[in-house]
Symmetry: C2
Subunit: 106 residues, 2 copies
Amino acid sequence: MRQLPHPATEDIQLTEVLRALADPVRLELVRKLGDGIELACSTAGDDLDVHKSTLSHHYRTLRESGVTHTRIDGRQRLLSLRRDDLDARFPGLLDSIITAADRVGV
Amino acid sequence: MRQLPHPATEDIQLTEVLRALADPVRLELVRKLGDGIELACSTAGDDLDVHKSTLSHHYRTLRESGVTHTRIDGRQRLLSLRRDDLDARFPGLLDSIITAADRVGV
DNA sequence: ATTACTATTTGATAGTTGTCAAACAATAAA
DNA sequence: TTTATTGTTTGACAACTATCAAATAGTAAT
């Protein structure tokens, strides 16, 4: 597979985004994905005590909800936040959620 | 029962709030609860095509997550947003979510 | 080619969720 | 004291979710 399916910006659903971020593991992953930064799956989940197949499931959920973008590079998958797309569709949402997460540490 | 249990402000969990708002029915209920407004359960859910027991379940989820406050008045339960508490704990969060919901109409 | 690496997929499982229907509880009105 | 009103609770059920383990797939290195 050369490229993974991503929802178009205008197809990103609010409830899907909230559902994706309502999980502690996924919220932590998003926190680690600082703006403009790409992380390999192995890096993103390295300090989380979760099985790799479980992480793969979370990556998929994040991607399909429109929260993250996944780029294939060799045998790695590079994750990044879809910051611009999310800001365009839901202004301020991602920021307030990440700020809140940093604040309470989850 | 004279009063219903509500989580203290400092016990409101981010993932719980996000999970509560990640449901279309509950998000719509929150949208209808404008700031400082109290709505009876009957009023809040009158135009939603959902069984009353299902609504009752959603009211409970919203209350237990810390999103809403429920006051008992006679045979009615009056719902209101815990705007101040949520703003204190997660600044800007509720606003961005409600704005986003209004924007896309969910 | 063989081996190592990175990640996904499939299968299984236990727990959670949204929903309806029916029964119940509490209060107000008659 | 009946009757009506307003919600909750319980039970049942189908769908979904997070998780691990094992198998699989694709790529890079040897």
